[in-house]
């Protein structure tokens, strides 16, 4: 059985443990042994995005050291954390003779969750069934940062009973942006309102995505609005779809 490592990410770990479990369930269903390196915390993105690069470097070094100790692929169920490691770690450690090569090595075996399934395992049909009308929200970092879009759509297309409704082009940011959401709440709120209007116009039951940060922000907005729409991470759709 292939062994894979899982970088669960701080948000999934602390606020969405059920979703984290869903990720594990899907991977184990596919016959993988899932190892969750102990002591993992946060990739450092919140500090980096806020401009606190010394703090971000400390958090990055911690994460790099931890994951450098394990071998094999590392799966990360978050586009924004993936972007942090692959695109921004090199910026933080440019010209660092120790961490530069470590980051390169890490990035070479780091996969976003759907990317791992579709591109590495060559699996898009898991035999899952989940009757629902959904709209897919492509998170900006997943879409533009990692160029991952085909993969989640391929997985969703193979879920029996799942109707993926179309929405307006182009995909627009939900307005989360990390600390932006509390630093510039009025703008964040306005962007969120625009997104919610677009989602509700489709008549879908669920908003599905690959980034829990966006989904958390979107669902928070839906609930405040009194909407019955909810969000689900793609791993949850697949995991629950497998149980039926």
């Amino acid at each position: 059985m292939e062994k894979v490592n899982l970088f669960i990410t701080c948000l999934l770990d602390t606020l969405f443990p059920d979703t984290a479990q869903a990720v594990v369930d899907v991977l184990e269903h596919l016959g993988l042994t899932v190892h969750i390196p102990k002591g993992q915390t946060c990739c450092g993105q919140p500090a980096f995005n806020a401009g606190f690069w010394d703090e971000a470097r400390d958090m990055a070094r911690y994460t790099i050291d931890l994951f450098s100790k394990v071998e094999g692929p590392i799966i990360i169920p978050s586009g924004s954390c993936g972007v942090m490691i692959i695109r921004h770690y090199p910026e933080l450690f440019s010209n660092d003779p120790v961490y530069g090569p470590k980051i390169q090595a890490l990035a070479g075996r780091l996969f976003e969750f759907t990317q791992f399934l579709v591109d590495h395992l060559h699996v898009s049909s898991l035999g899952a069934a989940f009757p629902a009308r959904i709209v897919y929200h492509p998170s900006c970092h997943t879409l533009r940062g990692l160029q991952v879009d085909r993969q989640p759509r391929a997985l969703l297309a193979e879920v029996q009973g799942l109707e993926i409704l179309s929405q307006e082009n182009p995909p627009t940011c939900c307005g989360f942006g990390g600390i932006f959401a509390i630093k510039m709440p009025e703008i964040s709120g306005q962007m969120l309102a625009n997104r919610l209007t677009a989602f509700e116009a489709t008549g879908a039951d669920l908003v599905v995505g690959c980034d829990i940060s966006c989904l958390m922000h979107i669902e928070g907005g839906l609930r405040k609005k009194g909407s019955r729409m909810r969000t689900m991470h793609i791993a949850q759709i697949l995991a629950q779809g497998l149980k039926s």
Partner: protein, 467 residues
């Protein structure tokens, strides 16, 4: 003009009070966006053209001293005069001197962002010159004392009734809200300005080093009027707005209009090379080009240098979800949107414009839209870092992130605190929270917050009997 730090949140609150104006800006942005996408498909390989455009700009900026000198030599040989201005004040003085020496009273001006950057109008007016904006949107803004809200469509935030009122009041004409009539009024009124102006001031979309050419990309015809009818023409040029050859210009021209408005070419793309030649019937007797630094050399020597590739098409504005939500005025700066969020602090100082790089989710739509592929999100991140290194940051954020770092760089601390959160969750229950304290109130004003939980790693440890 105030030098107090710009507060985007204040600007946003004000902008949100006028939702109708914001709708106009959204409509404009949407239209230019779809225009750009459609226009790019009329090229056989727009991606290759963009790559080439970037290479041309990258090569030029990497040899900027050489090309500026070549431009100066080429233009001087044809009788044009090249001036170098270190900053806004100096540029104002140079142009004032030119105007005085040529006994200029009335100046007709076509659109130039750089002229707004250096507050040229105020400087010239202080010297006793009359200066009239001739770009229709800028003319309306000038008459009404308003500021442009979009680089390409300066008064898109106004409607025809607003314009009708401005014309009626300032031009003493009967009120009309008929758009055709309003345009006709402007045409008549400004025609008089073109014919009587002593000097024309223009910007410069791109200069060409090899020939000493200034290229102007316009649509109304005022750019042509202002640069061919008065006896003196002054072109104001940001020092980075240059390419090596005419063919290089051709490449960028194929990208510029398409990226800006969705046109294949603007109505008038003028190549101005020197003052009137001897046997030409009309044209300026004097042509002056003022090359402006005003902080650009500083940018070139920094890790923000890539921003100098910009050709000012505003594609990034039109696609930016933040700009579309708040409009241009909220930025409180001459340069707005994603490009403005980099160059306003880069040119005008981080202390004053620290808010601008914060007003972004780093979604990357701007980078995707930029014809020369400037990595704006990365530049914004670098500016955020520079902001922190200047100690400009609210206390709660500094404390919060330092705390966060402390927690996440030690497994023991992290596990303890997540365990604590798990206990908390038992108290608070499974409901999404509708109120959070302090700076986190900004969250709950617009959305609920998910309930605290027993962390996933803790559950795993418990399940494996390790706790």
């Amino acid at each position: 003009m105030s030098t107090a730090p710009v507060s985007i949140r204040q600007g946003v609150k004000k902008a949100l009070e006028n939702p109708d104006r914001l709708v106009n800006i959204q409509t404009a942005a949407e239209r230019f966006y779809t225009g750009r996408i459609a226009a790019l498909t009329t090229l056989p390989d727009s991606d290759a053209l963009r790559d080439l455009g970037r290479k041309i700009r990258a090569h030029t900026i990497a040899h900027l001293d050489q090309y500026l000198l070549q431009f100066e030599a080429s233009l001087s040989a044809l009788g044009g005069v090249v001036h170098w201005a270190g900053d806004a004040r100096e540029a104002g003085e140079i142009i004032t001197q030119i105007a005085r020496a040529a006994q200029v009273k009335r100046i007709a001006k076509s659109k130039s962002m750089v002229s707004e950057e250096i507050q040229l109008n105020a400087r010239l007016e202080a010297a006793g010159m009359e200066i009239v904006e001739t770009d229709l949107g800028e003319y309306i803004a000038q008459l009404s004392g308003d500021h442009p809200s979009h680089i390409i469509a300066p008064v898109v935030h106004l409607n025809r009734k607003d314009v009708g009122r401005v014309f009626a009041e300032k031009l003493k004409v009967p009120y009309t809200e008929n758009v055709l009539e309003l345009n006709a009024i402007a045409r008549r009124s400004l025609r008089e300005v073109f014919l009587s102006a002593d000097m024309g001031i223009s910007g410069c979309n791109l200069a060409v080093a090899e020939t000493g050419t200034i290229c102007l990309v316009t649509n109304e015809g005022n750019g042509r009027m202002v640069t061919s009818l008065p006896r003196v023409h002054v072109a104001l040029m940001g020092m980075e707005r240059i390419v090596p050859t005419i063919k290089d210009l051709g490449v960028l021209l194929q990208l510029l209009a398409r990226s800006a408005t969705g046109q294949k070419m603007s109505s008038y793309t003028s190549l101005i090379t020197g003052p009137r030649r001897q046997r030409e019937e009309k044209g300026p007797q004097e042509l002056h080009v003022v090359i402006l630094d005003n902080g650009r050399t500083g940018i070139l020597g920094s890790d923000l240098a890539e921003v100098l590739y910009c050709i000012r098409c505003a594609a990034c504005l039109n696609v930016c979800p933040v700009y579309r939500s708040i409009g241009g005025h909220a930025y409180g700066a001459v340069y707005t949107g994603p490009i403005g969020s980099v160059i306003s602090p880069a040119l005008g100082g981080i202390a004053r414009y620290a808010d601008l790089p914060q007003a972004s989710t780093l979604c990357g739509a701007c980078r995707e839209a930029c014809p020369v592929r400037i990595d704006l999100p990365t530049l914004l991140l670098r500016l955020r870092n520079k902001t922190i290194r200047q100690e400009i940051s609210p206390l709660w954020m500094k404390a919060g992130l330092k705390g966060f770092r402390w927690i996440t760089t030690d497994a023991g601390r992290y596990n303890f605190l997540t365990w604590l959160a798990g206990i908390f969750s038992k108290v608070l229950g499974k409901q999404w929270l509708t109120w959070l304290p302090g700076p986190l109130r900004g969250w709950t004003r617009y959305r609920s917050f998910p309930p605290f939980q027993k962390s996933f790693q803790q559950r795993r440890r418990r399940a494996k009997g390790e706790d």
